[in-house]
């Protein structure tokens, strides 16, 4: 498995192939459409992330002192964002998750295209993932 830093760099390299926002958008949508499904039993209030305008459900679990994430949303774009976060964060140790600044998000030029509600939603997702690593 790639390290967290390698996973981030890979995403940055992938996005470097795209010249336009149009292409980046379509790639994120594709990632969203390929996101492995989340078991319906996790799509409840308990797993819902507050602060997202779209519905987002996040399931976190530990296995062998590593943390794993599964998630789903009614927005394909948000699912694409989740796919990126999962690539970087899922299967990492709590310390790795706590300490990363996720610099790839700025590096791929995603943030400038997010509306305030979408940006807050992304921040809420990251916060939840990091919180899980704290406990």
């Amino acid at each position: 498995m790639k390290t967290l830093a390698e996973a981030e760099q890979e995403i940055i390299n992938d996005f470097a192939l795209f010249d336009t926002w149009d292409e980046k958008y379509q790639y994120i949508i594709e990632l969203g459409q390929q996101l492995p499904p989340l078991d319906d039993k996790f799509k409840n209030e308990e797993h819902k992330i507050k602060g997202c305008q779209s519905s987002v459900w996040l399931h976190c679990y530990r296995d062998n002192s590593k943390i794993y994430f599964r998630a789903d949303s009614d927005s394909t774009f948000v699912k694409g964002e989740i796919a990126l976060l999962i690539k970087v964060l899922s299967g990492r140790t709590p310390d790795e998750i706590k300490n990363t600044s996720l610099h790839f998000i700025d590096a791929i030029g995603l943030r400038q295209h997010l509306s305030m509600t979408r940006a807050n939603g992304l921040a809420s997702m990251i916060k939840k993932m990091k919180e899980y690593a704290e406990v």
Binding site: T20, W21, D22, Y25, Q26, I29, Q33, Q53, S54, D74, S75, T76, F77, V78, H113, S115, T117, R118
Partner: protein, 418 residues
């Protein structure tokens, strides 16, 4: 060529001429020509308004109503001239009935506060509608809380039209004020405000009109409407942000206490007693937004020089054409199908997240708005989280609608891929 066609061609050249006045419309975004369909949020500004702003700061800038010097007198005069322009634009009797505010929101808050303090008591009722912008809901909720009054809401039907029957039944001796949106920003519905005002006046109940959307599309005539208050925003009618208008009948304004205290709104101040100016100055505390008001005057001049009836017809064509084309796309449902509609088209696409689709349109250089449009109760009524809203202004074209519809189809296909 038929007469109809000749008219169409001359209309098209008129639109091209108008578009050339709007520098922002000439640009590309993401390498594609900008298509601006978010006019209900804010309109773009013609060169003439931008020039007025820079002229003012280059040549006249001074504080108004206070100085003996040349610049201050010039600035004061220009500012007061806009008051007269607004008076004429909405056909008010006197410029003293025109109060400058920061916009529709502040105008409504002013009335809720000052009218509330003067006239509303425990158990009294205020009536609004189910299609109000949050700006015409929350100020009344705040006021009803402090004055212990009750807020009543006129319901709507599935087309997004007011249930006038329910409205008529709602009127009582307890009703102190009715505040109604003229054109709904999320549904496009044009409300029968004249009918509402007549019914209310039979019981001597004053009516406030939220003209934030209508002021650019409709000719506003407060004398004919006989409304008691009317609010509008400069930025939605080609003018700068941060300026707006409250029109109020003098009989009412005179009886209302100030909204904010400060400079300019007083007659004299002492620690024993402070007395206030007459309207409108009583309601304009502190240094006003002089530059933007003056540039708003340039926007009114610009609008006055246009044939607004023809342009309204053009906007209606854009709306009808867009509605027809959009409806041909599988899974699209238009939200807001009132008989009387302004050029605002709200819709949802089955199985597609509205914001995802809005973002796709953005990638194509098309600006629309997605979400609840500050009308959450409307979304609750239709049981949807939000809509995609394309709102057209006279500078938009049929070609732009075509590009929008084809992008919409592509976006929906893309997002529907599993």
């Amino acid at each position: 060529m038929t007469a109809e066609k000749v008219k169409q061609v001359s209309m098209n050249s008129e639109i091209i001429r108008i578009r050339n006045d709007f520098p922002i419309l000439q640009q590309n975004v993401y390498g594609k020509p900008l298509i601006y369909f978010d006019n209900a949020a804010t309109s773009q500004k013609p060169r003439q308004v931008l020039q007025a702003l820079s002229e003012y700061y280059s040549k006249q800038n001074a504080n108004i109503h206070r100085g003996v010097h040349y610049l201050s007198q010039q600035a004061s005069e220009m500012y007061e001239q806009v008051r007269v322009k607004v008076r004429d634009f909405i056909h008010a009797r006197s410029e003293h009935e025109i109060i400058f505010t920061r916009g529709t929101t502040e105008s409504i808050n002013l009335v809720a506060h000052s009218f509330g303090n003067a006239f509303v008591n425990k158990g009294d009722e205020i009536i609004i509608t189910a299609m109000e912008h949050h700006s015409n809901i929350v100020p009344w909720q705040l006021m009803c809380e402090t004055r212990k009054a009750v807020l009543k809401v006129i319901p709507i039907n599935d087309n997004g039209e007011l249930l006038m029957e329910s409205f008529n039944q709602m009127l009582s001796e307890r009703t102190k004020l009715i505040s109604v949106v003229h054109i709904s920003n999320s549904l496009g519905t044009i409300n029968p405000v004249k009918q509402i005002i007549e019914a209310a006046h039979q019981r001597s109940i004053p009516v406030m009109i939220d003209a934030a959307q209508s002021a650019i599309h409709e000719e506003i005539n407060v004398a004919q409407l006989d409304c008691d208050f009317l609010a509008m925003s400069s930025h939605k009618m080609l003018g700068p942000t941060g300026a707006g208008v409250l029109y109020g009948k003098m009989e009412l304004l005179e009886k209302m206490p100030p909204y904010q205290g400060g400079g300019d709104m007083i007659q004299s101040v002492s620690f024993n007693e402070t007395t206030y100016q007459n309207p409108p100055f009583r309601f304009e505390a502190g240094t006003q937004n002089i530059a933007d008001v003056i540039a708003f005057g340039a926007a009114l001049d610009y609008l006055n020089a246009l044939d607004r009836k023809d342009l309204l017809r053009h906007e209606q064509q854009l709306l009808q054409y867009a509605a027809e084309q959009v409806q041909k796309i599988d899974g699209i449902r238009i939200i807001g199908t009132a008989k009387e509609k302004a050029s605002i088209l709200s819709f949802i696409a089955e199985g597609v997240n509205a914001m995802d689709l809005g973002m796709y349109l953005d990638t194509q250089g098309i600006a629309v708005r997605t979400g609840h449009h500050c009308t959450e109760p409307v979304m609750d009524f239709f049981k949807i989280p939000g809509t995609i809203r394309a709102s057209f202004l006279f500078y938009n074209t049929i070609n732009e609608v075509d590009a929008f519809v084809s992008a919409l189809e592509k976006g929906i296909t893309l997002l529907n891929k599993k």
